[in-house]
């Protein structure tokens, strides 16, 4: 299910922010507080731009300047190359707290912007119902906002924004007032509509403080920071959708974002392109022995293939933190899946459990070779003539990535797995590793 967001042919610039600053009068009436220092960027057709930054850092102010709701102190906003005067003529805004009119029904709320544009009644109804259908609000037309859950309210908020078919859709923390599951659901639905081009919108600008959300949705992330706020980095996220947080590239972008947010001294960087890089050479191994993994699989099989993690920890009288490396190892090998706190035995896990000892080793060998560290060790050993290398060699290699202590533990785990899979052996007296035939 890999797809590119939007063809690159129509990359016209919809909006340009040029050297925009904003200062507010300080509360004591003396002087001003500089909120935004000169900021420039542009928004092109087909882009989903996400603005992240510390709270109170002027993200929402910037969004409102783009929309023409508040004027910049200096600099200008160009819409299709022309300076923006007043409110953006072809944009809509989705609010964090929905900002629905509580005294109007869902239908009336959605119709209101069309009414403002003087659309005749029948046409209004037709368009409103179409959006209601698109946002999955059928059956709620005559409900009042107070009767709806947060997620439904935000659907109305989105419908109200989309009903005018805006060229630019702006969203101010649209998912942060929702609970985690609802937010995730609405997010992916919106992304689906965007990717399938069901929305008439040409570009989206979204403000969020949720970095994972930013990486999940953005074509480009603008990192704001500093005081007064400036544009610290512009990260082009060139990853295919859907983006899984498990994906190493996803994690890499996320880690990078965290660094931007937590390290104020990191030098600003104009454009960073984050793309699907080859997997990092040494993904850390969870410290679990093969015996432990096997034990876990047996318990899981006894529980009919599915068990709640906490329930499992309770049953084994183990703190859940001790259990996690084993679970993680089983998951890494593909024996189990973790879904909403439940541990589920996979097809592979069942096959492994049902196999005899030799077959088990074979399966395990195939799976272990998928793991970068083990694959590297095997490749290195096989590249030498006598298929032997000293432990020191690998320790030196891993030092850089993990530090000395962790490097030793990583190797111990790798050796445990490698021995079981009969990929290589280790002689403790000579401290030498040797590949098996």
């Amino acid at each position: 299910m890999i797809e590119q967001p939007i063809a690159t042919a129509e990359q016209t610039t919809l909006l340009e922010v040029r050297e925009v600053t904003k200062a507010f009068p300080s509360p004591d009436g003396q002087g001003v507080i500089q909120v935004l220092s000169p900021l420039s960027f542009s928004v092109k057709a087909g882009e989903w731009v996400v603005i992240v930054g510390p709270s109170g850092g002027g993200k929402s102010t910037l969004l409102r300047i783009i929309l023409g709701l508040i004027p910049p102190t200096s600099g200008e906003v160009l819409v299709h190359g022309k300076p923006l005067r007043g409110v953006h003529p072809d944009a809509a805004l989705v609010f964090q707290q929905f900002a629905l009119l509580p005294w109007l029904t869902v239908l009336e709320n959605i119709e209101l912007p069309l009414r403002a544009r003087g659309v005749p009644r029948l046409e209004r109804l037709k368009r409103a119902l179409a959006v209601i259908d698109m946002m999955g609000l059928d059956g709620y037309e005559s409900a009042y906002p107070r009767e709806l859950s947060g997620g439904m309210k935000q659907r109305v908020g989105l419908a109200r924004a989309l009903v005018v078919e805006p060229e630019l859709l702006c969203m101010d923390e649209p998912f942060s007032a929702l609970d985690v599951l609802t937010a995730e659901n609405l997010r992916s639905e919106l992304l689906r509509l965007w990717l399938d081009r069901k929305m008439p919108t040409k570009a989206i600008v979204m403000v969020t403080h949720n970095l994972e959300e930013a990486v999940q949705l953005a074509d480009r992330i603008l990192v704001l920071g500093g005081r007064p706020t400036r544009l610290r980095a512009e990260i082009v996220v060139d990853l295919p959708h859907p983006r899984s947080p498990d994906n190493p590239a996803f994690r890499a972008v996320l880690d990078d974002l965290y660094r931007w947010m937590t390290d104020p001294h990191r030098p600003d960087q104009k454009v960073v392109v984050a793309t699907e890089a080859p997997a990092p050479p040494f993904l850390p191994l969870p410290h679990a022995r093969v015996g432990g993994i096997a034990g876990l699989l047996h318990i899981l099989a006894d529980a009919e293939g599915q068990i709640d993690l906490h329930e499992l920890a309770h049953r084994l009288h183990l703190p859940i933190d001790d259990l996690l490396p084993i679970v993680e190892a089983a998951r890494l090998l593909g024996f189990v899946e973790v879904k909403e706190g439940d541990l589920i035995l996979t097809e592979m896990g069942i096959r492994w459990l049902e196999a005899d000892i030799l077959r088990r080793k074979e399966i395990f060998r195939d799976l272990a070779l998928q793991i970068p560290l083990i694959a590297r060790i095997v490749a290195a050993l096989r590249s030498t003539r006598n298929k032997t290398l000293p432990m020191e060699f690998f320790l030196d290699l891993l030092d850089e990535h993990f530090g000395e202590e962790e490097a030793r533990r990583q190797l111990q785990t790798a050796i445990d797995w490698g021995r079981y899979a009969e990929l290589f052996t280790y002689d403790a007296t000579t401290e030498m590793l040797q590949a098996e035939e």
């Binding site: 709701l69 409110v87 609010f95 900002a99 009414r115 403002a116 003087g118 009644r121 107070r146």
Partner: protein, 566 residues
């Protein structure tokens, strides 16, 4: 449809249609009476036949509603200008504050004279004077409520309105008025209740030794008192109670219940207001459909026309010039009357007379303070007792509401009778008629305050086994304080206003008077002594405003800052 047949026309349609028809007929019939010609030489005397009471009640009610309509229109216009125009705000808000503090009853004689001079041979002048008096008793509070709502309109709603591209007309109705609807309705109901007092005072009035009588409950009462007819007096009181209850049931309750839909979602209703009338209307089929179609069509049409109109704006120099011209005209007008007032007072009153009036003000001040203190001591504990018993509160609150609505001045003649019979010294006794109207605000707010004490806090107090004394000291009094301040301010203003009619009371040509600023103003009005009226009202307004600024506003701020729950 679920086995239930939906009929086009049901019995509720029939009921409501009959009601609407009766209302229409009554309005037309009663309305005609407003334009009856009369000659000042022979003021119409009012027959005291009790069967005429429904007609009189209808006349009074019509007056009340016309005044309410004017008050609503005034609130919307004045409130929006004050909230949206910075320059106007600086001038309009203090003005409103003064208007609210001025004891408007004192002006009654002046306004009656003015309106009668506009229509010398027609009752309509008097009618207008009465409506204006009621209006002055209602409008300021409602205007403040609307202005305050506009100021607190949440920023996201404003932004949403702008992003949707709503026209000024659309924004005004769909966002601003809708947001303000709940406070506007509640304030309207409260102000309407206060309006009965002004109605009773303004229907029958003596200006320049001439008696003016408008057909209505107030003048029925006045005539009955004049003739010493106790039976007719009691009839009038009964009719008043029935009228208040009927207006509450047929108008305010449905309106309040309907206005619930304008509640912003974050706030919860303390007690849900139900209305059988509204339920009846909601069950109609045909009428509802017609009504909906008409309102939708008219709404669309108005929307189109007014949107275009409201977006058309005058060129800046024209609007600026217009504003300046208007301000100048208003300023000149005020200055002219101010200078004239000063000249009249200086010319007609000696310095010792002026000082004497200030002294009378101190006497009335003492009575007003007694009213507030006694109301507090009596009604706060009662209110807490009622408010902490939800069952009792549900039962007592509507009763208190009716008692508060009942115009206390209609009971003054009966009090006069009692004082005359018992020889009670009226210098002290005059506190009672003043308290009669003012006390309810304290009770009302005490009940509301006690009901709003969170259950958790009460439970905490019980678990810590706070003795009664400590419970009052640490929980009830602090929690009640903001409510008490609101109630006491209203009682304070009400008592000053009441003093104008409460320091001179009559029964059957026997008059009880006591020294006081209220009596001074009333007597000056009966004799048409313009300078004395102006000076009397000025002194009273000065007393009210000074204490508001120095005392009540500080208490209010303290209450807001320290004792506001939640």
């Amino acid at each position: 449809m679920l086995g239930k047949q939906i009929r086009l026309f049901n019995r509720y349609d029939a009921l409501v249609a009959a009601g609407l028809f009766a209302l229409l007929y009554a309005t037309v019939h009663v309305g005609q009476g407003m334009f009856v010609r009369f000659s000042p030489q022979h003021p119409a005397s009012l027959p005291l036949d009790p069967t005429l009471l429904p007609y009189y009640a209808a006349r009074s009610v019509l007056r009340m509603f016309v005044a309410l309509a004017f008050s609503v229109a005034f609130s919307l216009v004045y409130g929006s200008i004050a909230a949206k125009n910075r320059r106007a705000e600086r001038f309009l808000v203090p003005l409103l504050d003064i208007l609210q503090s001025v004891p408007v009853l004192g002006f009654l004689s002046a306004t009656v004279a003015f309106f009668v001079s506009l229509f010398p041979t027609n009752l309509f002048g008097l009618e207008l004077a009465s409506i204006f008096a009621i209006f002055t008793g209602q409008a300021w509070n409602m205007t403040f409520a609307f202005y305050h709502s506009l100021l607190t309109l949440p920023e996201p709603l404003k932004e949403a309105a702008t992003m949707m591209g709503l026209s000024r007309w659309q924004k005004f109705w769909k966002v601003e008025v809708s947001y303000a609807m709940l406070p506007l309705v509640w304030n309207g109901m409260m102000s309407f209740a206060g309006g009965w007092f002004f109605l009773a005072a303004s229907e029958a009035i003596t200006v320049l030794r001439r008696n003016y009588r408008l057909p209505g409950l107030g003048s029925y009462m006045a005539t009955a008192v004049e003739q010493g007819n106790l039976a007719a007096t009691l009839w009038a009181i009964g009719a008043m109670v029935v009228t208040i209850v009927a207006v509450d049931q047929f108008f305010w309750r449905p309106v309040v219940a309907w206005a619930e839909k304008f509640r912003a979602e974050e706030t919860e209703a303390v007690a849900k207001v139900g209305s059988w009338v509204l339920n009846l209307v909601r069950r109609t089929q045909l009428l509802r459909r017609w009504f909906k179609r008409i309102t939708v069509d008219v709404g669309e049409w108005l929307d189109r026309k007014m949107t275009r109109l409201s977006e058309a704006s005058l060129p800046e120099h024209v609007s600026l010039g217009l504003g300046r011209g208007l301000t100048f005209a208003l300023f000149t007008f005020c200055a002219y009357w101010f200078v004239r007032g000063v000249m009249i007072v200086v010319a007609d009153l000696s310095v010792s007379e002026m000082l004497k009036v200030i002294g009378l003000g101190l006497v009335t001040l003492a009575r007003v303070v007694v009213v507030v203190v006694v109301s507090t001591l009596v009604w706060v504990p009662t209110g807490v007792f009622i408010g902490l018993n939800p069952n009792l509160a549900r039962f007592a609150q509507p009763l208190v509401q009716i008692a508060a609505s009942f115009p206390a001045n209609m009971l003054y003649p009966l009090l006069a009778l009692v004082f005359l019979k018992t020889q009670f010294p009226f210098a002290i006794g005059s506190v009672i008629p003043m308290m009669l109207g003012a006390q309810w605000y304290v009770l009302f707010n005490a009940i509301a305050g006690a009901m709003s004490i969170p259950t958790e806090l009460q439970e905490a107090a019980s678990i810590f086994r706070l003795p009664a004394k400590e419970r009052w000291r640490w929980l009830i009094i602090p929690a009640l304080f903001p409510h008490w301040v609101t109630g006491a301010i209203t009682a304070w203003g009400g008592a000053w206003n009441a003093s104008i009619v409460a320091e001179v009371i009559e029964w059957h040509k026997q008059r009880l008077t006591t020294a006081g600023l209220g009596a001074y103003i009333t007597l000056a009005a009966t004799e048409g002594h313009a300078a004395a009226i102006v000076w009397g009202i000025t002194v009273m307004s000065a007393f009210v405003l000074t204490f508001n600024r120095l005392f009540w506003q500080r208490l209010y701020r303290l209450a807001e800052l320290r004792y506001k729950l939640g």
